[in-house]
């Protein structure tokens, strides 16, 4: 077990170093950061929401969009660069199992995405905090209700986003394990993420007692095959209205994300074991 952990950690570290040096990562983190910081300048486009909600939504959007792009493209790129450069062949000729290789790739990429998510969350937190102080002062002067901002909620949301991206990486690695080309893995991976993001529609219909048995059967299977990625998007409530979030919601979503990750990684390992390199 110790040797398994050591080898996985080693591959994780190498993958992490390789990923963090990529220009693509630097480009997207700068773009995401610029988007978060510039959100205050776009306030004039806001209609009838609280200002903090608008700024937070801008930041969450950046994290979701760029994080998903990074998760899909970088994972596939890191996986296929090992295959195409034949380094995987050399690596797997040593006493390294395919599960260790896949897990190393997963954790390496996930670590990079942790940096992405927490840097953007830090920036967003700073913007929201500074604006909430100004708005609180204004509200006090005008005798209005001050807007609420929960830093703890932002941390919880960042953790959930990181977990969501973990599920995305696991999906893409599973697809890449069976795919022949980088392009196929990216396209199918992106479609799987979109489908996962829309999976809640099937779950919502299932919660209501309507539709034929066949229809509900198809929905049941769909909701079992695809992960529900929408459940991670409770940022608005967590950050701006934390009292509206049930106490166990974050823990339940986190557990759900972890189970999905394990399920996808197991499937990915099974596929990768059968793959000829």
């Amino acid at each position: 077990m110790k040797a398994f952990m050591q080898r996985t950690t080693w591959i994780t570290w190498v993958t992490f170093l390789e990923a963090i040096r990529q220009r693509f990562f630097a480009f997207l983190i700068v773009l995401g950061g610029a988007m978060v910081l510039s959100s205050v300048a776009f306030r004039f486009m806001d209609f009838g929401h609280g200002e903090l909600k608008f700024v937070a939504d801008f930041g969450f959007g950046g994290m979701f969009l760029f994080g998903s792009v990074l998760g899909v493209v970088m994972t596939a790129q890191l996986f296929f660069s090992e295959i195409d450069n034949r380094t995987a062949l050399t690596l797997l000729a040593k006493p390294v199992s395919r599960a260790e290789f896949l897990l190393g790739k997963f954790f390496g990429t996930w670590l990079v995405l942790a940096i992405f998510v927490f840097v953007l969350s830090g920036l967003l937190g700073a913007v929201l905090w500074s604006r909430s102080i100004e708005l609180n002062e204004l509200a006090e002067k005008m005798g209005r209700l001050a807007p609420e901002f929960s830093p703890g909620g932002l941390v919880a949301f960042a953790l959930l986003q990181w977990l969501r991206l973990g599920v995305v990486i696991a999906i893409v690695l599973t697809i890449a394990s069976g795919a022949r080309t980088f392009l196929y893995a990216v396209v199918v991976g992106a479609l799987a993420v979109v489908a996962g993001q829309l999976q809640w529609i099937a779950q919502d219909v299932l919660l209501k007692p309507e539709g034929s048995v066949w229809y509900r059967g198809v929905l049941w299977v769909t909701s079992r095959l695809l992960p529900n990625l929408e459940q991670f998007n409770i940022g608005d409530a967590l950050v701006l209205d934390p009292t509206s979030v049930p106490a166990n919601a974050v823990v339940q979503v986190a557990i759900s994300g972890l189970i999905y990750m394990v399920a996808f990684l197991m499937l990915g390992t099974a596929l990768f074991r059968r793959r000829e390199i």
Binding site: F42, M45, D46, F47, G48, H49, K53, F54, D57, F58, G59, F60, G61, G62, M63, F64, L65, S68, V194, Q197, L198, W200, I201, Q203, D204, L206, L207, S223, R224, L225, P227, N228, L229, E230, Q231, N233, I234, G235, D236, A237, L238, S244, V245, P246, N248, A249, Q252, V253, I255, S256, I259, Y260, V262, A263, M266, L267, T269, A270, R273
Partner: protein, 256 residues
């Protein structure tokens, strides 16, 4: 054999993941605003999908609203209505979108339609009236949806009451909206009076007085100034109803 065990374990995890996700989704569902899928279908290809997929729902809703303004200036009824409804569907908890969509549909669109058919001089008065009423009814449907989605926002109820009174000329319906507005949080000071006035003018004079008096005694009289304007209105009603002194509201010390 090892592969078989691994396969079984994977399948077990898969079923577990799906089942547990259903439980967690039930827990977080109330935190995520409901989205009107039918309303956004016509605009799915115009960047709206991004809004549905994850964050940015507010931002995309704002962008959609700006675009709807462009169409409003062009008096493009179908385009404007579609985009406004899309903004409402994307951010259903925003009072602003529902209220303004209701106003535009109820007050502007019927006039656009009259102009499109040749203008006020050409379109017969009864057709014009029919148009005003049908658009007002559609606007009320939007406002009703907004009331549900915003948890009974008083401003939306007031807008609906106004529309029912001015365009549908249905004072009982208008009174119903003003009554709901009176019972909601942050009810404006004039809501009880408007409700009572509409009931009064619709012929339900005793009912109007009883309700208005009850509200004044239970709520308005406890405000800082004791709501003297409302009391004055109630005195006028008592006069009109010829109520004996004993049945009238006892005179507070501060009443002139």
């Amino acid at each position: 054999m090892r592969s078989l065990y691994f396969g079984i374990l994977t399948a077990v995890f898969w079923v577990l993941a799906g089942t547990y996700s259903e439980i967690s989704w039930r827990t977080v569902r109330p935190c995520i605003p409901e989205i009107g899928r039918r309303d956004i279908e016509p605009t799915l290809g115009q960047g709206v999908l991004l809004g549905i997929l994850g964050g940015m729902r507010t931002v995309i809703a704002d962008g959609t609203w700006v675009r709807s303004y462009v169409l409003w200036e062009r008096k493009d009824r179908p385009g404007c209505e579609t985009l406004m409804r899309t903004a409402c569907a994307l951010d259903p908890r925003s009072r602003y979108f529902w209220e303004n969509t209701g106003y535009v549909m109820g007050y502007d669109m019927a006039h656009w339609e009259v102009r499109r058919r040749g203008g006020y001089a050409k379109v017969p008065a009864d057709v014009q009236e029919h148009l005003y009423r049908s658009y007002a009814r559609r606007a009320l449907e939007v406002l009703d949806q907004g009331v549900v989605n915003t948890g009974g926002n008083a401003a939306l109820l007031i807008a609906a009451g106004q529309l029912a009174e001015m365009k549908l000329k249905d004072q009982l319906l208008s009174a119903r909206y003003y009554r709901s507005a009176t019972e909601s949080r942050n009810a404006p000071w004039y809501a009880p009076y408007f409700c009572a006035r509409n009931l009064w003018e619709a012929g339900q004079r005793e009912e109007s007085y009883r309700w208005y008096r009850k509200i004044w005694e239970e709520k308005l009289s406890k405000s800082e100034d004791g709501a003297p304007d409302d009391l004055k209105n109630l005195r006028e009603m008592e006069q009109a109803l010829h109520l004996p002194i004993i049945q009238r509201i006892p005179r507070p010390a501060w009443e002139k």
